[in-house]
């Protein structure tokens, strides 16, 4: 009969009108400024740099300016300039740090490839999305100070992921220390053997060329044996990083030189 379909349609809309007063399924609005939808843990917006502690974020950046993320970023919106001097990082090794680390949030497509390829867990995805501005040139080009956030903040927004990352870093550091200890013990044994050998040859004990003594355990590193854990600095072109980065297969760095 003509019009039966129309009446059915009216019935459905009537059900929705009536339902919107009592059934939460029929009134799904989240009144934004007052109520906010709970962001899932995996949510990502723009990257931020992880620093070890909150007191001195600039000093304890995990980033070692290896510029892998700058090369891999699809829209090329990261700009890094290495510092000339070095500073000790969490594990006590002397590392280069980024003098300039800019991310242009007006170009970034929040695809988290920089997080995926970073071998040092130095860059993670933030969850702040309320960043509407009226001035494009200054506010949207985030520099090092605006990007650096403490590890505690990282634990706050991505709890499970942060815990897993910290576990892996600790394991890695412990492994590095054991290897360093083993290497030191082997070096000490060889030195003792060499000392027991003919006396007259004075073993040259020049301090190692390696930049600065490895803080806690290793005594004077012999020039002969290369420093156990070669600092993973992707100084192009040939230095294949010994300690394979946690996440992905050893990357052959023969790729496009910067």
């Amino acid at each position: 009969m003509l019009g039966s379909g129309l009446l059915q349609g009216l019935k459905v809309t009537a059900k929705n009108i009536a339902g919107s007063f009592h059934d939460p399924e029929r009134l799904v609005t989240v009144e934004y400024p007052e109520q906010k939808t709970k962001l899932p843990e995996n949510y990502r917006n723009f990257p931020f740099l992880v620093s070890e502690n909150a007191t001195d974020p600039m000093g304890t950046l995990r980033c070692v300016a290896c510029q892998i993320c700058e090369k891999e970023c699809p829209p090329q919106c990261i700009y890094i300039e290495k510092s000339k001097d070095k500073k000790p990082d969490a594990a006590g090794k002397m590392q280069v740090y980024p003098a300039v680390f800019d991310i242009d949030t007006s170009v970034c497509m929040s695809c988290q490839i920089c997080v995926e390829v970073c071998p040092f867990e130095a860059i993670k995805m933030d969850q702040v999305f309320e960043i509407a501005t009226t001035d494009r040139f200054n506010a949207l080009l985030l520099d090092r100070n605006q990007l650096a956030k403490p590890n505690s903040y990282y634990h706050q927004i991505h709890p499970t992921e942060a815990a897993e990352v910290d576990g892996r870093l600790l394991a890695e550091r412990k492994a590095a220390e054991e290897k360093a200890k083993a290497a030191a013990a082997a070096a000490a044994a060889k030195a003792a053997a060499a000392a027991a050998a003919p006396k007259p040859v004075a073993t040259p004990t020049a301090t190692a060329g390696a930049p600065g003594a490895v803080a806690a355990t290793v005594s004077v590193a012999k020039p002969a044996t290369p420093p156990a854990a070669a600092p993973v600095s992707a100084t192009p072109p040939a230095a294949a990083p010994a300690a394979s980065p946690a996440q992905n297969a050893p990357a052959s760095d023969g790729k496009a030189a910067p």
Binding site: T13, N16, I17, S20
Partner: protein, 407 residues
Amino acid sequence: MNAMPGIFAAATGADSLLERWPILFRDTVAGFFPAPLQWLVGSLISILAIVAIFGGVFAALTLLERKMLGRVQNRPGPNRTGPFGLLQPIADGIKMLTKEDIVPRSADHLLHFLAPVALLAFSILTFAVIPFGRNLVPLELDAAVLYFFAAGAATELAIFMAGWASRNKFSLLAAMRALAQLISYELPLLLSFVPIIMLAGTLSMTGIIDQQAGWNFGFIPKWYIFTPWGFAAFAIFLVAALAESNRSPFDLPEAESELIAGHLTEYSGFKYALFFMAEYFGMIALSGMAITLFLGGWRAPLPFLEFIPSYLWFGAKLLGLLLLFIWIRGTFPRLRMDQLTRLAWKFLVPLALFNLGTAAFWSLTSGWSGPLQLARWGVAIALVVVPFVLLGRGLSRGVAPRTYRFA
């Protein structure tokens, strides 16, 4: 003890204070003026009252429409400007007033300016004859219904003027559509109220309302909608009213998805607000007309509810009809142009003509009583339903839900 009903009667009777205060007010104010000016001041007051009240009803209607559409679509609608969004129409009004008014260089400036003014003038003219309350009839005409449709028919000219004057291809298409639609729906609109004139025997609104006084079986009011031919006429009138006021599913002239904004494409700021206001006034006027003809005007539906003043009943019925309009707008898609005119000429006009026959049969057999009464109702209902089903089948010949095969 019997004083109680007296007071009660005084407060509820036909001439209770609640009923007559508007007239008392008008006469006292007119009294201050010399005799020849009195009718002028009286009519000025009623004009001011109509424009003020229905201006407010228009503002509330825009808010009601947005909130009701919101409720249909599972969202609350505007609720941040003022408590529960009540100040939203005021904010819209202020913004529209202070908007720059752009007139395209190639437009016909005079017609472009006159179109909204004419549309609003014709829409307000139709309010002159609608009886809002027991003695709240602005203009007591004995050919009121004729006057109403004469004034209503002029709005087509204004819409075409708007479409033509803005020299824009989309508004030209919209103007052509508006003409075809409004003229082809003028006929079912008029034909649907002819049986009422036939049975009421008068063209004046108050006369028609008086015919619908009283209740049979004590609680069913003698409104025309509760007769088979009356219900059919009401349905036709409603569909035609939807088309006349360009409301969905007949909003072809102002079809957002095809013709950008139809004849309103080149109007900005306050002229656009005038168009908006004219459309809502047209809707209110047609609903008022439907109430007067079919729903017993300002009469109370049940005898013991007589104490509520008559204009409140008119307001309640008006609100009911407007909610029905908005509910229909939230549900149905839009018809195509040829389907629209085919619906008018091949479906509504024949049905309305059949309805004349059933109304004639109804008035001739008014004398039947007892078992003949049932026969009378049966034949009348058959005379309404059978042509509807036959014509309906003819209308939707090629259209049917389909079944699908699976590979």
